[in-house]
Symmetry: C2
């Protein structure tokens, strides 16, 4: 997990949270627990386990407490969970979470529509979480979504992305994940956005998070790696999507990212065969074809 080693790229596996929360096929807790346990065996160092949001908003993750309690916590692996507010934070802590994530948008329109709060209000809501976390020795990751476009307002000024990322970092988040939620970005835009944020937040505290809606995710990741980013969010089997963007496909598939990184001579510590097997297994559980090209190629008859 040493991101100062320039040839090491840490993959933040978000399939069990960002992926599943947007999948319509509801999975039983046993499957989600098996998913996280399988992911733990691949060598991944950061596995987002679930989200302590209201079951009303995310029915798929209504079993967050059970899932978090029952996953095998492998020493050396982090299992962050998303918390929308203090209540979620307390629920996560009650089952022993030591890593949490908070989520806001760079687009005011997106935040108001989907979180029902202004960006400023979101940040205010995170303040007590960050204070508790500091006292509790809990690490907090900050997600900034819609960094390259918004389904409501269209363009999102880079200055707005920088401002939200800097606020979260200054509030105490150890890492800021920059998310192209609707997958519209292309490499030059992704690169420019990353470099602008890196003026205010150290590059080693930045992660990139791409969705593959327009097929651009790997190219965007390549451009950001070239600028020095060494933390990449992805989801095994490319699960997920954005319910607010028409035609939005899921997160970039972890298998495809790892395949590219290996080819680039970058280390991930991940066993690609085990990751492919996990992706194929998850796709079967969801009853849909995998969105990972690598898994499709490797498991073809």
């Amino acid at each position: 997990m040493d991101t100062r080693n320039n040839s090491f790229v840490r993959i933040v596996e978000v399939g069990a949270r960002d992926g599943l929360q947007n999948e319509k096929t509801l999975l039983p807790p046993e499957v989600k627990i098996a998913l996280v346990d399988r992911l733990s065996a691949t060598g991944l160092k950061t596995i987002e386990a679930t989200s302590f949001v209201s079951a009303r908003w995310v029915p798929q993750l209504a079993d967050a407490e059970e899932v978090f309690r029952r996953i095998r916590k492998v020493p050396g692996v982090s299992y962050p969970v998303l918390v929308p507010n203090e209540q979620g934070y307390r629920a996560a802590r009650a089952v022993g979470a030591t890593d949490v994530s908070v989520f806001t948008a760079a687009s005011e329109a997106f935040n108001r529509t989907n979180i029902n709060a202004s960006i400023a209000d979101s940040l205010t809501r995170f303040q007590p979480i960050l204070e508790h976390a500091k006292a509790d020795g809990v690490k907090v990751r900050g997600y900034v979504s819609t960094v390259l476009g918004c389904p409501y307002q269209g363009e999102v000024p880079v200055a707005d992305v920088v401002s939200v990322a800097k606020r979260l970092y200054d509030m105490g988040c150890y890492e800021i994940s920059l998310g192209d939620t609707i997958g519209v970005g292309t490499p030059a835009k992704a690169r420019a956005m990353l470099l602008a944020v890196a003026q205010e937040v150290p590059m080693h505290a930045l992660a990139v998070h791409f969705h593959d809606t327009y097929g651009q995710a790997l190219a965007n990741i390549l451009a950001c790696l070239e600028e020095g980013v060494r933390v990449v969010d992805s989801a095994v089997s490319g699960t997920g999507g954005c319910p607010y963007a028409k035609g939005a496909t899921g997160n970039v598939a972890s298998e495809d990212v790892v395949y590219m990184l290996e080819g680039l001579g970058l280390e991930t510590g991940i066993n690609l065969d085990l990751l492919v097997a996990t992706g194929a297994w998850l796709a079967a559980q969801l009853g849909k074809p995998t969105a990972s090209r690598v898994t499709r190629a490797r498991t073809a008859a």
Copy 2:
């Protein structure tokens, strides 16, 4: 078609040949003619129209003569056709082709298995084609396949790619298309291969040709654009595949390439809306979902 303008990228649309030849659903000539005519309307400057190979090997393109005769030839647009030998060259010329392509592999094993000839024999077979072409004022494009890996021999030494590309160029091909036939390449390997070839063949005479089997095509194209390549092969709707590589998906989708290039501020002269409409239409003709992420996103309900 001025590749010396550094912000212009010429797309060589290979869907009607490299794409369709590997599609199992046989299309009537009318559909192929409509496909090429639709592509001509998008602003594409180079549209590979068909292949004058034996119908025994490629049943899909048994109607090459009829298709070539009946497509609308738009002034300023080239319609190259693949010719495997002198007989194919004569057949192509008989219906008025002024641009042809020849095809060989960088992998000896691939060439022997699929073309039933050594690389040296293939090149010898092309010699009279290139001589006739010179006399006839016909342009010849050279394809080199398996440049980043072979389904039979595995690794393909870069020196072998350089050697075949240089031979074709020295024989008179105006452009050499470097193809990762089985889609296994990653950006650093693609970049290194391109740069090695560019030591012997001018960059402006090189094109890159990626298949998206492992999802790496756009990232590979990005890396090659960064090194100066300005000609990219792709197929509308991502049709095709490689019958010799298990799980091989098709060519990179033209729509996804154009979307990326537009985002990079590079010009293609192509109307993306018309290209997306053509891709969606072709997918419907083939009775399968489009492999283009852009077309999927843009045509989602």
